[in-house]
Symmetry: C2
Subunit: 731 residues, 2 copies
């Protein structure tokens, strides 16, 4: 029986750990081994029969022999100096102040008057180039005719002479003995030629490698440090480090207009994904994606030519390869591997189209910060597994893996046992789930300015990191990742240009006012507003979270206030009396709540528009849950969606309620909100999962609304049979 389950697991390896690796590999059913940044593969290990060898491969870094000899092809970035106040009519700006000299070096090779800019940030206007001079000796820009008490900044082009990931590892792990790796730009003709020659050479020399794991291709997401060697700026989506005079010239040739430093710097916003993208930035993204995908394809083709597989790491130098973008398919990559922080980041990897397989690296890393005497690493292991498992049951990864030093994990026998159980459970799920679409009564679409390209990536600043300003929205993705619905990500333009797809049942708009996730001036478009109104009226659902459809116009702040039944008071309507704000004693949406709705961050001054609005919950005079009938559909307002099992249930109920389908709720459903139910029609199976580390009891409702009481052990996943004829389940 056991043999059947072998495989689907990648093991990190280290030198001088051969026998133990064999043991772990057998117990966990590993069918692949891999090296990582900092470790190398033991020659012996490469020869285990049936076990594939993954080798990491850096394209645009880790080759200082080339890089140091071609510094003119080093990667570049536009950055902005600090704000400096003028006290007189001249001003000197030490523009490098606050940057890490080891990473950011001004580009003095190209014409500063062409690529650099000086801004008066008090007027937010650019100064004429003859108003300032660059002093390269002293790294100073001297400005004349300044206005006293205006603030000025310098936008400058710089070489990025330290790869951000290596820099992070170097500084964090105190690698003072290693060389700082200079990243180079494949737009440079020499670099372009070099990376291809070097890969071919490497492929020749590494016949035992089965899978080349690109980490990743060319341009790192924007990440730079300050002069204290601490992170100064991080944007996982940022195209900042992909610029160069070559790129700008090529862009201008194709698009017929010039991109300036400010198009990238945006007074310090640097094209944050939280800001509605400018058309210029969208053009640039498209331009770079095409270049990156074309170049990446050449490397992947080369790997294939040598009979190997090519996979990429989702992160680091991934800019331009967006897996949900238009050109990703063209790369021809075989697989994607990424880090799993929970359900949403799992789905981010698992849902990637056009690849043969996806692989998730689970937590915890086998590092000393978790694997030390007295600590129990199985706690983090199980938390990570249980939160990810919800998502796996909706759409599984094809493979899982762990990272770090296996010798550390090996010292914790209970941990090794648990991973053995997890890998078995994972393979068990795959048997039932892979290529077997789970039953979903509804399709839910997340609507924002980015849409599909940022699938499962909304509300993210840096991959899987917590931000005070975002967790109340990111919880929506985490909840949805394991909920029995199909999920799509659509943009305002999708609706404006193509209408709302037939398969969508419920649209969710979530975010802070003025961000790209709420939509800001996208809501100034009557076509958008009208389309959603008519569609909801026709029997669909609209769920608004936080400050949905916020754009002050026509006396409304929320442009879909009429659907939601609520609006936000900005102060301008204080003279209008607000009645109807008393919550109802009970409601369908909050029926399973055990405690007060814990939405996350508070949104102020939400009030009901009329007595028709169903006020469901409130907090300190602001409505936190409301619903409103709109034709045959409904609007539902939620103040926030911090992730929790309770809130996941509120979301599930909101979906049904928005569709006026309360009567359908107790079908294909597990009553206890600590549990979830998934049905696989093709394999005629049912998975009932306990998402807690305590035993749970629940009523499981079948397609007919008949229920059975089921008990589940802590963290248990229980499989049952689905009788397709009768619509009933048996466990």
């Amino acid at each position: 029986m056991k043999d059947k389950y072998k495989g689907r697991v990648t093991l990190p390896v280290e030198l001088d750990f051969y026998e133990e690796t064999l043991e772990l590999s057998k117990r966990w059913g590993a069918d692949a081994i891999r090296d990582s940044d900092g470790t190398d593969l033991d020659a012996q290990l490469k020869l285990i029969p049936g076990v594939k060898v993954y080798s990491k491969y850096f394209v645009a870094r880790g080759d200082n022999e080339f890089a140091l000899n071609h510094m003119e092809e080093a990667q570049q970035i536009f950055v902005m100096s600090e704000y400096i106040t003028a006290y007189d009519d001249t001003l000197d700006i030490e523009f490098r102040k606050g940057f890490l000299d080891k990473q950011i070096v001004p580009n003095y090779d190209h014409d500063s008057k062409r690529y650099w800019q000086v801004y008066d940030r008090t007027t937010n206007e650019e100064l004429d180039t003859d108003q300032w001079e660059l002093d390269k000796e002293n790294d100073i820009v001297s400005i004349k005719n300044t206005i006293a008490f205006h603030e000025y900044t310098v936008n400058f082009l710089a070489y990025m002479v330290w790869d951000p990931t290596q820099m992070y590892n170097y500084i964090t792990n105190n690698w003072t003995d290693r060389e700082r790796e200079v990243p180079f730009d494949v737009r440079g003709p020499k670099a372009n030629k070099h990376v291809k020659e070097k890969l071919r050479d490497w492929l020749e020399k590494n016949p035992e490698t089965d899978v080349v794991r690109f980490t990743t291709f060319f341009y790192h997401f924007t990440l730079f440090f300050n002069d204290q060697e601490k992170e100064k700026f991080v944007d996982w989506f940022g195209y900042g480090s992909s610029v160069s005079p070559l790129a700008l010239d090529a862009f201008e040739l194709e698009y017929g207009y010039t991109l300036k430093a400010e198009d990238f710097i945006q007074a310090g916003y640097y094209n944050s994904t939280f800001k509605n993208p400018s058309q210029k930035y969208l053009d640039y993204i498209d331009f770079q994606q095409r270049f990156v995908c074309k170049e990446a394809k050449e490397l992947v083709d080369l790997v294939h030519e040598y009979g190997k597989e090519a996979i990429m790491f989702l992160g680091d130098n991934w800019i331009g390869t967006e897996p949900y973008g238009k050109y990703f398919e063209s790369i021809g990559i075989d697989g994607v591997v990424g880090s799993v922080g929970g359900g949403a980041t799992l789905r981010l990897i698992a849902d990637i189209p056009h690849v043969k397989y996806t692989e998730g690296r689970f937590l915890p890393y086998f590092f000393p910060d978790t694997f030390y005497e007295g600590n129990d690493p199985t706690i983090e292991l199980m938390e990570n597994w249980v939160s990810s498992r919800r998502a796996i049951l909706r759409n599984p990864l094809n493979r899982i893996g762990y990272g770090g030093y296996p010798s550390l994990a090996y010292k914790f026998p209970k941990f090794v046992d648990r991973v053995e159980e997890i890998t078995d459970e994972f393979r068990g799920i795959i048997d039932n789930v892979e290529n077997n679409k789970p039953y979903a009564k509804h399709t839910v679409a997340i609507l924002n300015s980015w849409g599909k390209i940022r699938t499962w990536q909304a509300f993210m600043v840096a991959h899987a990191l917590y931000y005070q300003e975002t967790y109340s929205y990111f919880g929506l993705l985490e909840s949805l990742s394991g909920l029995d619905v199909d999920v799509k990500f659509i943009s305002f333009d999708d609706i404006i240009n193509h209408g709302i797809d037939e398969d969508i049942d419920v649209i969710i708009n979530a975010g802070d006012a003025h961000t790209a996730f709420s939509g800001d001036d996208a809501w100034n478009n009557p076509t958008l507003v009208k389309s959603i109104r008519s569609w909801v009226h026709d029997g669909h659902g609209f769920i608004g979270i936080g400050e949905p459809s916020a754009y002050e116009k026509g006396g409304r702040f929320f442009q879909l206030a009429d659907i939601l039944g609520i609006d936000q008071e900005l102060g301008f309507k204080l003279s209008t009396d607000k009645y109807h704000n008393l919550p109802m004693p009970s409601h369908f949406i909050t029926q399973d709540m055990k405690s007060k709705f814990d939405y996350g961050e508070r949104v102020r001054n939400i009030y009901a528009l009329s007595s028709q609005t169903e006020v469901i919950a409130d907090d300190k005079n602001s409505i936190s849950i409301a619903a409103n009938a709109y034709g045959k559909g409904r609007g539902v307002y939620l103040m926030g969606m911090k992730y929790s099992h309770e809130n996941t249930r509120i979301l599930k109920r909101s979906i049904y309620y928005s569709l006026q389908q309360e009567d359908e709720f107790n079908k294909v459903h597990s009553s206890n909100l600590e549990t979830e139910l998934n049905v696989y029609p093709q394999s005629e199976s049912v998975a009932l999962v306990n998402n807690t580390s305590e035993a749970q009891k629940t009523l499981v409702y079948d397609f007919n609304g008949n229920y059975t009481c089921i008990e589940l052990k802590e963290n248990e996943l229980k499989w049952g049979h689905y009788n397709v004829e009768t619509g009933s389940f048996s466990f």
Copy 2:
């Protein structure tokens, strides 16, 4: 001794209560009696020697004999219908829905195509007048060529056939036996003539009246009810009920452009004082003020002609008379009387220029809701007195009074005793304080879009009413009303056009983003920004409360972030790492705090700009108090200023800190924050006041920083002597 204190008190009277009134009048030292809406003066009472008689006088209401015969001169208002969604290409709007028929009656006498408008609120564009027809029979506007799922509203001109104050009293007190009073418009030629003739006639017939108390002149602040007879809209500053075709025509003739319904309706904002005023609205205010003041002057002249005094009630029909406006002085009114809800509303009355005297009506009203068996009305009495007394010590009213039925108060002997003490204490203060400017080390200016005209009236929707959205800012005024500083109210235009007055030490900008109190696009003016920066740099203070100087531009949300050392994260800068947010262990500003800073309503995501920022307090990852050195001055940020004694102390310390005058703080100061100290150089006296109902001990610091320990009984006001030569105090 007692006799000296007689006077300065106005007593309300009622019929058949003669002897008791005499007794109260003697004990409280009343030197004036008055009637009110609902009561008349007893003939006997008018003859008490030495006691003046105030008679209420309604100019534009309370005369239905005229009004009902001249309905074409009834007052008018522009109002907006509900939002109605079109489902097809035609739409009927029952525009009267939601209004009280007894108050709001459509004006069908004038051309609807000229005065009415129909708006598509989804595009926020006006429809061509040929796109709609008015059906007067059925009170319906029928629109053609509508767009399905757009929302539409009708702006219509209506007669306001019920005076709002009488309506309020009528509905609240269930006066079903009285006539509903129709207010008429003195712009109407017949009404204009009538009010003057009638006043002359009334003056002839009321020789025993000493003081005519106008309640008030012509136009009521905007107040209308809904179809449930509940308040629908209230704006104490609203010019809504002052419109008419006559006024619009006169305006157009003078200004050369036409005002439309939408200029008053603003998609339902109705020119809220929380919204930056449009130039059109400012023009209209000026236009009406000139008219109102001119007409009011004629009436006041008439009163003077008869040897009587004329005073006005600050409220009800006060629109156009703004006592801090440009034309108020020209009315020639002798006094203003208003209701006192606390220190700020007291100063609102007491600070009024160009009058011989001001009078405040204190709480509680002698009404059955307070004066019932088992309740102790002295509690509210003392609270109101103690909070008002702080302000009286800075700038006293000339007179105080009470309202309601004295027979009710008479039943509570303890209450009568306390009022006797209060009236004595009040006269005692006056003796020391009147025409004797109290010592103020600093002048503080409140900066917003309105400036002087809304002196002590910022953050108000309806006079002295609490609003969830405003108390965190209104507390600033309440704190300042009794603090030993001089207070000015200035506008952005004042600074832009005339610079910052010499006498100002500290500027405070307080309010929610985008409101007229924070300033919104006023901060898009570099002259303003630069002026304040240079002035602070020169050694002045800037205090920002809530969302000060908020206007997103140049990478800042708060345009004075550089002074304040903090900014608000809108989401666009999440990629920039925020350090320096840890509060300091102790700080000058919070030195007297006994508990956590209770600012009121929370402002989200306030972060420090640099390590130079002094983070003084925070709450849930948002900074609540910060300070920042800026040249010789400082910026201080406070999240809110809910009124409390603790927060008043924080404000006082912030003023000193912003001026870098920490060393000066323990001079002319009472250490216990439950007490306050005022010094009167001209009378060489000192007032030390206990603002609590418990005994307090405090250190009183003189001009040299020497202190004495003083004990105060509950609510005590202790007078001391100020030795001008030595700068010391003795009690």
